[in-house]
């Protein structure tokens, strides 16, 4: 391979004048993590709500839940990103639309909302699967004890379901984290975008992408480590 390797490039100043190329990648990493965490809050809350709705003994709630999941699962994330960023401000009433367009950090807020709604459909499927995997007797026991439906979910079903679906939820979290890179198309300066910018400024393609690759692998390892720690912490003594 006749490629000029230059690993010292990370310590050279980037043309943006805000520090070295390494600083540039690290600021991208920060945006990736912040976007992933903020969108996860929406995904987790909304996904749990939709997932619970699909298990309720109520036709309307089931229909709403199913429609939500089918809608958000069957449109590519990139198209959803464009819908939130380019289309939504146009179809809203004029004042709201121009308020949205003038929002500082618009790519960030758009990415958070878009990823949150997108990942919620996946979280919902996991929550539903978790609740449905519980023995029927648990719900009945809740009712027999005089708990309302809400209380049964709050004190009996959900605490068990979340423990069961912790591993698949971890991979959804990681998917969400990787999906933040799609937001570079609407101008979010996350890690992949910064690696790409570094490649354009310095022509050191493979150094830039190698660094980004290593950073992504590190976040993955850290997340898996934290998740298995949580799993041990919340395990019910005596079960399994």
């Amino acid at each position: 391979m006749n490629y000029n390797w230059n690993w010292g490039i990370f310590f050279e100043a980037s043309p943006e004048g805000t520090g070295t190329y390494a600083d540039m990648l690290l600021s991208g990493l920060t945006w990736t993590i912040v976007t992933a965490l903020c969108s996860w809050v929406i995904a987790f809350l909304l996904g749990s709500l939709v997932g619970v709705m699909r298990t309720l003994p109520n036709r309307a709630a089931n229909a709403v839940g199913t429609t939500y999941v089918e809608l958000f699962r069957n449109i590519p994330l990139l198209v959803q990103m464009f819908l939130w960023y380019f289309v939504l401000p146009e179809v809203l009433p004029e004042q709201w639309g121009s308020w949205l367009k003038q929002l500082p950090n618009a790519p960030f807020y758009t990415a958070v909302v878009c990823l949150g709604f997108f990942t919620a459909s996946r979280v919902a499927e996991q929550v539903r699967a978790g609740i449905q995997s519980l023995p029927r007797g648990q719900k009945m026991a809740g009712t027999a004890l005089g708990l309302t439906v809400g209380q049964t979910y709050r004190h009996v079903l959900l605490p068990n379901a979340y423990r069961i679906i912790l591993p698949p939820l971890t991979s959804e979290f990681l998917n969400n984290l990787k999906n933040t890179s799609v937001a570079l198309t609407i101008g979010l300066l996350e890690l992949t975008a910064r690696a790409r910018a570094m490649q354009e400024f310095s022509f050191q393609v493979f150094e830039a992408f190698t660094a980004a690759t290593i950073l992504y692998v590190i976040i993955n390892v850290v997340v898996i480590f934290i998740s298995s720690w949580i799993e041990r912490r919340v395990a019910i003594p005596g079960s399994r």
Binding site: F86, L184, T192, Y216
Partner: protein, 230 residues
């Protein structure tokens, strides 16, 4: 607002959207799915083989690709494939590689990691006694895989492999980052040329939704059929 929604921009660009864009998307999806399943099966077999080192290589491959965002992998291969081509053919300068070849290599190698996990689960779900019985009958590893194990795996795993292919179909829209004219790329080019973002992106969303929804319903039907036979 939607009051000045212009359908004519969609109808006039239909041939371009489907014959250029959708054709690229579907060809890429089909070829990458076939290549990815073939390579993924090999990786799954490597991972389950009792040989030294090879399972570790396969595991590293799968875990590495699964921890990277597809967008980054697309960029990686866009720049790497010309050098790889030079290395393979022994030419003295990096090869010029078309957008299609570059994205086909990317998606095949990337999806192989995901397909291999499906195939691995499938192979592991076949009772061990079958492999032992094949061996007792004097079959080699390859014969038993080809005639006993893999046919059952493919049959059991077809719905999941197809679901993953639908995901792949959606993921191909990410070649947008290389300004390639896939279906979304075509829609976006028309949108920007005519200043009709609302119409084109909504139309793209409707088409993707229709294709994926119908396909996933079909997969569900297939799953029911297979479930009865087993």
């Amino acid at each position: 607002m939607l009051a000045n929604f212009d359908f004519s921009v969609i109808t006039s660009s239909l041939p371009y959207l489907f014959f250029e864009g959708m054709r690229f998307t579907l060809t890429l999806t089909a070829l990458a799915a076939l290549g990815g399943i073939a390579l993924g099966t090999l990786i799954a077999m490597m991972r389950l083989s009792g040989l030294p080192v090879i399972p570790l290589v396969a595991k590293t491959y799968v875990n590495l690709f699964r921890s990277l965002p597809l967008v980054l992998v697309i960029f990686w291969f866009y720049f790497l494939v010309p050098y790889l081509g030079q290395w393979v053919t022994g030419a003295d300068r990096p090869m010029t590689v078309g957008a299609f070849t570059s994205s086909l290599v990317t998606f095949t190698l990337f999806e192989a990691a995901y397909f291999s996990e499906i195939m691995r689960a499938g192979i592991q779900s076949i009772p061990k006694g079958q492999a032992a019985a094949a061996q007792a009958l004097g079959m080699t590893y390859w014969t038993s895989m080809r005639t006993v194990i893999l046919p059952q795996v493919f049959r059991n795993m077809t719905p999941i492999l197809l679901t993953q292919t639908i995901v792949l179909f959606q993921d191909t829209s990410l070649v947008y980052v290389l300004s390639i004219t896939d279906f979304l790329g075509a829609a976006s080019k028309v949108a920007q040329r005519d200043g009709r973002l609302v119409e084109m992106y909504l139309f793209a969303a409707v088409v993707y939704f229709a294709v994926c929804f119908v396909a996933s319903m079909a997969v569900r039907q297939l799953q029911k059929k297979i479930a009865i036979i087993r």
